[in-house]
Symmetry: C2
Subunit: 146 residues, 2 copies
DNA sequence: CAGGAATTGTTCGTGTACTAACAGAAGTTG
DNA sequence: CAACTTCTGTTAGTACACGAACAATTCCTG
């Protein structure tokens, strides 16, 4: 009767909606990231990290691997290239593709930032007890889909 | 030993990091919102909803209530005003403040969109069982902080 | 009351994020 | 092989999101 979680009957409070809280949680994480790794944005770090994991990738493929669309990954890669962290060359087999790889400098930076990246994940989850954090991650993963 | 959740020792996989999954979950929600309510962005809806909840507010106060900084809320309010959903006037008591309120049109739109907004929250949580959703929301709230 | 501090709103610059439209290359099929 | 389709990357436009700097106003405190 008094169930606010009902999708059609209960009252609607913005502060209780998943989307709104999700946005705030994301904001908190972004703030932690910016504080601990000021020289790279989370998105840039994600692209660099994934590229280091994969070794190499085409631009759009890297975008898919990091959940960025073609337009977004382009800007991110442009900035990483301008800073000499990522190298790009035209693919020999497929003239459409841009072949990407992390430069030595990019790999070194990635390695150097790894401890801080781990810290950020830890700090982000700090409000939760270890058990809670594990449960949360599992449910969040489900929610993210794909 | 083989614990990937350890913040200083384990291996680092981008796909397992809170921040990355949080971003993907947010993306999924944004896509659902855009599909079900194409005429308003989630942020615009949040501002309108909060303003309807509160009745009235100054611009920065509304920003705080919706987790937007001064620069962001300004743009959002500008767009809502341009569409006649929100009215603004200089505050009589405090010449700095912009007094905001939802217009009749704004309130009607808000009321009309409410069922869809509820649906979006429901759809967002759809990958989770009801029990899981409840747990998730609680943990997410903790994570968002403040 | 005077002068410093805090608040309110604005502007600028940078960086995601997505849609839509496009060109060129590669793959598929009749 | 020619037409169609798909895939790759690019560009333009809109909308958050935040830091930094700023002017005007109000508050606070000596």
């Amino acid at each position: 009767m008094n169930d606010n979680s009902d999708a059609t009957t209960g009252s609607y409070r913005l502060d209780d909606q998943v989307g709104f809280i999700l946005r705030r949680a994301n904001q908190r994480h972004l703030a932690l990231f910016a504080r601990d790794i000021p020289d790279l944005t989370p998105t840039q770090f994600a692209a660099l990290a994934k590229l280091c994991e994969l070794g190499q990738a085409s631009q759009n493929a890297l975008g898919r691997a990091t959940a960025m669309d073609a337009a977004t990954i382009k800007g991110v890669i442009d900035r990483l290239r301008k800073r000499g962290l990522v190298a790009a060359r035209r693919d020999a087999d497929d003239a459409r593709r841009v072949h990407l790889s992390a430069t030595d400098q990019g790999q070194q930076l990635y390695a150097a930032l790894l401890p801080r990246a781990r810290e950020i994940s830890k700090e982000t989850l700090a409000p939760l007890a270890p058990r809670e954090a594990a449960v949360f991650l599992q449910l969040l993963e489900k929610l993210a889909g794909e």
